[in-house]
Symmetry: C2
Subunit: 462 residues, 2 copies
C-alpha cells in the first residue's frame, strides 16, 4: 500500500465546493459541475453562486462560508481580484486544497503578478495547498474526479500527466496517447512539479509519468525527486519554451521563469528523465515504455521484405546512434540456406527471395526468432507489408511477428509496416503488448534509442 | 502538347510480350499478366512460356521469336543467365524496350555483375532500351499499363515516382501518399534517373516528382536535367544509403555506387531538388506541393487556442529556421480589443479568452484573415481542436479555417489539430485544397521551411 500523501485529497476528494459556479449548462457551457457529474464523480458537490439557488438540481450557496459541511477541495472560478479573499475564507473553514482556475495572474500583468504573490503567501501562512492559478486542475479516471471545465473522456490507464496547460488534458491522445490521471500545475503558485512527481512516483495505478514543463521555481527539490522516481518508473519530460522567443511567450502564458534549455537537458540526463522534443515523441515513448522492456545494449537486428527499406533503416539507426548488429554466423547461415546462392545475406536480413520460395510464415518466424535468440542482438525492427488488397493477405506477417515477439519479451520489437492499411494492421500487431508499431523508421529508431538510454540509466549505480 | 519521348513506349505500350510468364494464377501468384489485366491494360499481351499453350486464356508462345506480331515492350522474367540472350533476341525483333524483372545482377555476385555489363552492352549496341534489372518496371494509372508482379491500386493522380525499389510502388501511401505514374530504375543498367526525370518533367499529367535514389552513374547528366525540371515543377529526392554501412548494403541491393551524401546534398541544393530525409517527409512535402504555394519569405503568423501549444510551436519554428512574424500593430489591436485587458497579445495569437467571450466563428475568422492579410506574414499555422465529443462541436474551426484560407490562396496555411478526432477532422480540413493538416508541429514547421526554400529557389535567377 502507498502511504498517505497530501495530494490524495486533490485526487480523490469526498466533497467539493465550486465557487463561482456557472449557471449556464449544456453543450458548450464549460460547466465544471456538469463535467464532474458526466465524468462519474460520486462525492458531494456544493455550488457557490450568489445569484442563484440551485445549479443542475443541486442547492447553491451565496458564499462558501454558508455551506457548513466538511469540504475537502474548493474549485475557485471567480473573477481574479476575488481569488485571494475567497482562498483565505477556504483556509479559515479548514478546506485543505484549492484549485484556482482563472487566468490573469503571473501570466498577465503587474496586478495579476501581485495577486498571485498574495495567493502564495496565503498558502504558506494558512497551510491550505493551492493548485494553479490558470489551471484545469485535476483529472483522475480511477476515482472519477475532475475539476476540468473542458469535458474529458474517462479511461483508467496507467499514465500520469503533469503539465502547465490544459492542452495536455484535452489533447492527451496527441501526447501520451492515453491519460489516467492528470495534474495541471499551470502557474504553480504553491503546488509544483516536485509535489506532483512525488505523488505519481508512489502511485501504483501509474506506470509511466509524462511532464510538460515550461519553467519551474524549485529546481533542486524537483531533480532530487526525479532521481528517486525515475528508478521506479519511467518519467518523460517535454520541456517547451526552449527558444529565446518561446521563453518570452512562456512568461505571458504560465508566468514561468524558464531557465536555459541546456541546463534542463543536462539535469534531465543526470536524473534519468527521458527528454522528448515534441508531442509525437511523447506519444511514441509512452507506448514503448508501457509495452516493451529497456534495451540491454545498443545492437539492433533487422528483418525486412525490402532491400531499400533496410538501407533507409541502416541510415536512420546510425543517425540515432544505434548499431546494426553483426549477426552470429549460424543465424546468417540459416537464412542463406533458404536464399538464392548469389544472394549476400547480412543484417538487415532481406528475406524476400527466401519467402517467395519457402513461404512467408516459415521464413519470417525463423528469421525473427533467430535474431531475437542471437546474443549479438538487443532489439529487433521488423519491416513488413500492411496489406489491404486480398492478393497480399498471405504476406501479412502480423500474427507471426506478434507470436514470435511474445516468446522473447525481454528484447524490444518494433514494427514498421508499409502499405495502404498501415493504421489498422498496426493496431492488430500491438494487441498482446509485445510489439509496438511506429509509422516511420526515424520514429522507430528514435524510440529504440530511448529504450537503450533507459537501459543504461537503470543499470547505472545511483 | 508534349513532344514524343523515347520512354512513351514504356509508359503506354500497345503490345507487350511477357517472357517467362508464370502459369500460376490467382491470389498470391504474383502473375504479371493477371496484374496487367486487373489494372486495366487494354493492349495486346503475348505470354511466352515453353511449357504451356495458354495463360489466362491467352495463347502462349514457346519463344519470343514465334510471336510474329509487332511488340512494343518485352517484360523479361526468365532465370538471370538467359536474360542477355533473350534481350538480344528482342532487339533483333525490333522491340524498342525491355523491362528486366529478376534479381541476381549487380545486386548479387561477380557472375551477376558480368551479366548486367552484358545487358548494358546489348542496349548500347542494338539501341533497345532496358529498364532494370531487378525492377518492378512501370506503373501508369493514366494509360492503364503496369509491369509490376505486385498487385497495385490504380489512381490517376499527378504524382510521378522514380525509384530503385518496388517498396515505393507497393508502399506509395507511406511515401508520396499517392502515385499516378512510376518508373523503377532499380539497378539502372541502361535507363537511369536522368531519363525518367526528363520524361516526367515534360509530362502534363504530373505535377510533383518524387525520386528515391540509392546511387547513380550519370551524375552530371542527371543534375543538368534536374536544374531544368525543378524550375517547371517540384522534384523531391530521398537519398538513401547515406551512412557508410547503408552504402555497403546498397551495393548488394541495387548494385549502386552511392557517392558521398554531402556531395548529393550540395548538388540537390544547387539544382533546386527538395531533399527529404525519410518517407514521412516525402509524404508531407508531396501533400504540401500539390496544394499550397511556395512561401515568399520566412515569416509565419500563428493562431492558437492554447498558449502552451503556441510556445511549443515557437520553439519548433526557430529550430527549423523560420521566423515568428512580428505582426503589424493594427492586427494586434483587433485581437487585443476582444481580449481581457490584462492579456498581452502577440504572435502567436492566443485567441482562447477572446473566443470564450465573442464566439469561435467570429474570433477565429478575424484572427486568421488579419494574419493572412498582414504584409508582415508569409504563411500561417493554425492550432485548433479536433473535437469528438459533441460538447466541443462549437469549437470545431474546420470550416472557418478552410474558408478563410481559400480567400488567401497565395499564402500557405497549415493546420495542427489536437484531440481524439485528429485524423477525420484533418481529412475534412484538407478538402478544397487550400489548407493541409499535419499531425505534429515539427512536421508543420519542416514542411513550411521546405515551401520557403522552394520560394527562394524559384525567385533566384537560373
Amino acid at each position: 500500500m502507498r502511504p498517505q500523501h497530501y495530494l490524495d485529497i486533490f485526487m480523490s476528494p469526498a466533497s467539493v465546493a465550486v465557487i463561482g459556479a456557472s449557471r449556464k449548462t449544456g453543450k458548450g457551457s464549460f460547466n465544471v459541475i456538469e463535467n464532474m457529474k458526466d465524468f462519474g464523480f460520486k462525492g458531494k458537490i456544493y455550488p457557490v453562486n450568489p445569484l442563484t439557488d440551485e445549479i443542475l438540481g443541486i442547492k447553491a450557496h451565496k458564499d462558501v462560508k454558508d455551506i457548513r459541511e466538511p469540504i475537502d477541495v474548493a474549485i475557485i472560478a471567480t473573477p481574479r481580484e476575488q481569488v485571494p479573499r475567497v482562498t483565505q475564507d477556504c483556509a479559515s473553514l479548514g478546506i485543505k486544497g484549492a484549485i484556482v482556475v482563472p487566468q490573469g495572474f503571473a501570466d498577465a500583468d503587474g496586478e495579476g503578478k501581485a495577486l498571485q504573490d498574495e495567493l502564495t503567501r496565503i498558502a504558506r501562512d494558512t497551510g491550505i495547498r493551492v493548485l494553479g492559478p490558470n489551471t484545469l486542475g485535476i483529472v483522475n479516471a480511477f476515482s472519477g474526479f475532475t475539476s476540468s471545465f473542458m469535458p474529458l473522456a474517462r479511461e483508467k490507464v496507467p499514465v500520469g500527466v503533469i503539465c502547465q496547460s490544459g492542452i495536455f488534458f484535452v489533447g492527451s491522445s496527441q501526447f501520451t496517447g492515453i491519460m489516467g490521471k492528470g495534474i495541471d500545475i499551470a502557474n504553480g503558485c504553491d503546488l509544483d512539479f516536485a509535489d506532483a512527481l512525488d505523488y505519481f512516483g508512489d502511485d501504483d495505478d501509474i506506470e509511466v509519468i509524462f511532464m510538460h514543463i515550461e519553467g519551474m521555481k524549485q529546481g533542486k527539490e524537483f531533480f532530487d525527486t526525479a532521481k528517486r522516481v525515475a528508478r521506479k518508473k519511467p518519467v518523460i519530460a517535454l520541456k517547451s519554451a526552449r527558444s529565446r522567443r518561446g521563453a518570452v511567450a512562456a512568461s505571458t502564458h504560465s508566468g514561468a521563469l524558464v531557465g536555459k534549455h541546456e541546463v534542463f537537458e543536462a539535469a534531465f540526463r543526470q536524473s534519468g528523465i527521458i527528454s522528448a522534443l515534441d508531442p509525437q515523441e511523447v506519444s511514441d515513448f509512452t507506448k514503448a515504455l508501457l509495452n516493451l522492456n529497456p534495451m540491454r545494449g545498443n545492437r539492433v537486428g533487422l528483418v525486412t521484405f525490402s532491400g531499400a527499406g533496410g538501407i533507409i533503416l541502416i541510415d536512420t539507426l546510425q543517425e540515432y546512434g544505434l548499431e546494426v548488429a553483426d549477426l552470429s554466423p549460424p543465424v546468417i547461415k540459416k537464412i542463406k540456406d533458404l536464399s538464392p546462392a548469389w544472394m549476400p545475406i547480412q543484417n538487415p536480413l532481406d528475406i524476400w527471395p527466401a519467402l517467395m520460395k519457402h513461404g512467408m510464415e516459415y521464413v519470417y518466424e525463423l528469421a525473427l526468432s533467430e535474431i531475437l535468440k542471437d546474443t549479438a542482438v538487443d532489439a529487433a525492427i521488423c519491416i513488413a507489408i500492411a496489406p489491404q488488397l486480398p492478393e497480399y493477405a498471405h504476406l501479412n506477417a502480423t500474427e507471426i511477428i506478434k507470436k514470435t515477439a511474445a516468446s522473447f519479451p525481454e528484447k524490444p520489437v518494433v514494427a514498421w509496416l508499409y502499405g495502404p492499411n498501415q493504421i489498422s494492421i498496426s493496431n492488430m500487431i500491438e494487441q498482446g503488448g509485445h510489439v509496438i508499431s511506429l509509422p516511420t523508421l526515424p520514429r522507430a529508431a528514435r524510440t529504440l534509442a530511448m529504450l537503450r538510454d533507459r537501459g543504461v540509466f537503470l543499470s547505472s549505480t545511483a
